[in-house]
């Protein structure tokens, strides 16, 4: 469906006419009184008459309905509708929301700015005189695209989301008429990258053990102690992996909690193998024994669990048939295996592989930005590629006013006919 622009929007006020006609047609009115010399005949046909009230609300006769339709069509035609440029013909602006874009922008001379790198990049994008002016804005948060339209993005997009975002799937939206707005230049084939650049911004980059890790004076340094890590282990997680997780947590001084965890280790819910729907990424039926093999001969063997991959998650392990069996984001590990489960081959290597995933999944402390993102982003810039025209097949222009006028005339004719038919 497409939207319309109106060349004479004030003519839409004429839509009040059919509304008024409707109200008039629906208003209660007593039945008309009619003198006749043939009452005896009517009494033969309806001896007792009708139990009609004095002021029953009337149904709207067809001639009124057709007249209303004619007025509506006429008013719309008068307002001069024209199809608004299709969504595909607007510029699409993809706004990076990763933590690095919310760092303060630092000029090449080391002067800091009140603006963030994203502010600078957006200002640069907004300064581009690109037609049409209407934009569609997109950002990728919590594994899904979020959209907005207008001349500028929503203000909320200039503030870091509560949950740190991952990189958008740029290739999905690499098309003509698309701007990639970030702090660094994003490689694109057809899209137009616009970036802020900006000098290095030192600060918190992560955790090391139980202490915060800072990038200061060009080197990494441990900072203050962090609160103990809280780890939740789903009961569905195979016993061997749950035991390993608990041991790893104790070693790190982490707390095992049931909820409100910094790191959740979960297993996909088990099914009976009949009523579960496989996700697009999974192969094989739920409950089948599958194996995840490691490079050094170890393997995890367990019952397959139907695993849906969240949009912002990375697939960490796949089984022999290519189905994802372990996916993760910062603070979350989701396993597509259940009991019966076993570590096979080199059991020690198999266990260490699991612990490596736990380490990787430990979320950074609040406010941490990866060292790579804090590094110097260079000079800002923009490379404008092809515009949106021709991104989709041109939509045939619909002569709306013509068809509406034709509809109005047809309805008027129908109204006249219906009115004449009242006299039977």
């Amino acid at each position: 469906m497409f939207e319309l622009d109106w060349s004479r929007p004030s003519a839409l006020l004429a839509l009040a006419l059919p509304l008024a006609l409707w109200v008039l047609a629906r208003r209660p009115r007593p039945p008309r009184e009619l003198a006749t010399g043939t009452l005896a005949i009517w009494r033969e046909l309806r001896p007792t008459g009708e139990p009609v009230g004095a002021a029953r609300r009337r149904g709207v006769p067809w001639w009124v309905r057709f007249t209303m339709a004619a007025l509506v069509c006429g008013a719309l035609a008068l307002a001069g509708p024209t199809p608004r440029p299709a969504e595909e013909e607007r510029w699409i602006v993809v706004v990076d929301q990763r933590p690095g874009v919310f760092l303060p922008w630092v000029a090449s001379d080391g002067r800091a700015d009140e603006r963030t790198r994203l502010d600078v990049a957006l200002d640069r994008a907004l300064a581009l005189q690109l037609d049409p002016a209407e934009r569609e804005w997109r950002r990728y948060v919590d594994g899904a695209w979020e959209r907005a339209t207008g001349a500028a993005p929503p203000d909320a997009w200039r503030v870091a989301p509560a949950r740190p975002a991952v990189a958008p799937p740029w290739s999905e939206v690499d098309a003509r008429g698309t701007l990639f707005v970030s702090d660094r230049r994003v490689d694109a084939t057809l899209a137009s990258p616009v970036w802020s650049g900006g000098g290095a911004v030192e600060g918190l980059v992560g955790r090391r053990g139980d202490r915060a890790l800072y990038w200061r004076g060009g080197a990494l340094a441990a900072g203050e102690s962090l609160p103990p890590l809280r780890v939740a282990i789903d009961p569905e997680v195979p016993r061997e992996l749950a035991t390993l997780t608990a041991a790893w947590a104790r070693e790190r001084g982490a707390e095992i909690v049931a909820e409100d965890a910094d790191l959740a280790v979960r297993a996909a819910p088990g099914g009976d193998g009949d009523d579960g729907e496989d996700s697009q990424d999974s192969k094989g039926s739920t409950g089948d024994a599958v194996r995840v093999r490691g490079a050094s001969g170890w393997s995890w063997r367990g019952a397959a669990r139907d695993l849906a991959v969240p949009g912002d998650a990375r697939v960490l392990r796949r089984d022999e048939r290519g189905a994802p069996r372990l996916v993760g984001t910062a603070g979350d590990l989701l396993l597509g295996l259940g009991e019966p489960f076993a570590l096979d081959g080199d059991r020690r290597a198999a266990g260490l592989a699991w612990i490596a995933h736990l380490e990787d999944a430990v979320p950074p402390p609040a406010g941490a930005v990866a060292l790579a993102a804090r590094a110097d982003a260079g000079e800002g810039g923009a490379v404008i590629g092809p515009d949106p025209a021709g991104r989709s097949a041109p939509r045939p222009g619909a002569p709306f006013a013509f068809w509406l006028t034709l509809g109005a005339l047809a309805c008027a004719a129908a109204a006249a006919r219906a009115g004449a038919a009242l006299r039977v």
């Binding site: 003198a35 006749t36 010399g37 043939t38 009452l39 005949i41 009708e50 009609v52 029953r56």
Partner: protein, 279 residues
């Protein structure tokens, strides 16, 4: 009830048109309602529009004034026009009484033109007795028009009150009304014994073709009301029933050798009256 400003002129033209057609029919060898009698009764002045063949050329040569011959039967005829003035005749517009009065006046004009003596009788209406207007000469016609203009549709007594009480002491008897208030036998009993009967039944357009929708139907004579939701199927049934009623009158006329014509008040009096006088 009022006659239009050109009503008298229309009546003159109507009478002249009938006279021309009568001559045409005579030339074709057919009889006419106003057909010539066999016995010479006298002369009367020629009127514009009359067939010149009826002019008495000998008299014209002697007197240098145009006269036409008048036969005995036409000259001595007595015409009576019964007019329904009951309340139901007020249904219209145009009202049935309007058309009935126009017809009565036109019949009087035609009758006087043919040398007949004409008596207009109004049904009692709200009065106890009928009232009548007698026209012997053409000069009486203007006064008759004035009296007819004062008539109002009222009361319950219509044509049936006349045909049940009045003596039809005439050669030609016309009934003008809606014929909705009585037994047809009471009307047709007046046909025969040298008297010719002609009925003109007027109905209002809405009585012929009622509109669909909710209405309260009112009998103007009794004040009875009937709330009714008129839809298309009901209209169809009504029209069928009304058609049966009208056919009953037509069939009765045919059976008794009388004439009967039904007309909508949407039509002019000339169109409705001509079939009664020309056929």
């Amino acid at each position: 009830m009022r006659f239009g400003p050109d009503f008298a002129q229309r009546c003159e033209a109507f009478a002249a048109r009938l006279a021309r057609r009568r001559v045409g029919r005579e030339a074709a060898g057919r009889a006419s309602v106003l057909g010539p009698g066999e016995e010479f009764a006298g002369h009367r002045p020629y009127r514009a529009g009359e067939d010149l063949r009826r002019l008495d050329w000998d008299l014209y040569a002697r007197l240098d004034k145009p006269f036409v011959r008048v036969e005995r039967r036409e000259a001595g005829e007595r015409w009576t026009v019964w007019i329904d003035r009951s309340a139901s005749m007020g249904v219209g517009p145009p009202t049935k009484l309007q058309r009935a009065a126009e017809c009565a006046a036109a019949l009087a004009r035609v009758g006087l033109g043919a040398g007949a003596r004409v008596r207009l009788v109004l049904s009692p209406g709200a009065d106890a007795t009928p009232s009548s207007i007698v026209l012997r000469r053409a000069a009486d016609w203007g006064a008759a028009l004035a009296r007819l203009q004062g008539v109002r549709a009222e009361g319950r007594a219509g044509l049936a009150a006349l045909w049940s009480r009045e003596r039809a002491d005439c050669d030609r008897l016309f009934g003008v009304g809606d014929f909705l208030d009585g037994d047809a036998r009471g009307w047709f009993v007046h046909q025969g014994r040298g008297r010719r009967l002609a009925g003109l039944q007027w109905l209002a357009p809405e009585e012929f073709a009622p509109r669909v929708g909710r209405a309260v139907l009112i009998d103007p004579e009794t004040g009875d009301e009937l709330p009714i939701d008129v839809d298309a199927p009901l209209v169809t049934r009504y029209e069928r029933r009304l058609g049966e009623e009208l056919d009953h009158w037509r069939a009765g006329a045919a059976r008794h050798g009388a004439r009967h014509h039904v007309a909508s008040t949407a039509r002019e009096f000339e169109d409705a009256l001509a079939p009664l006088l020309e056929d």
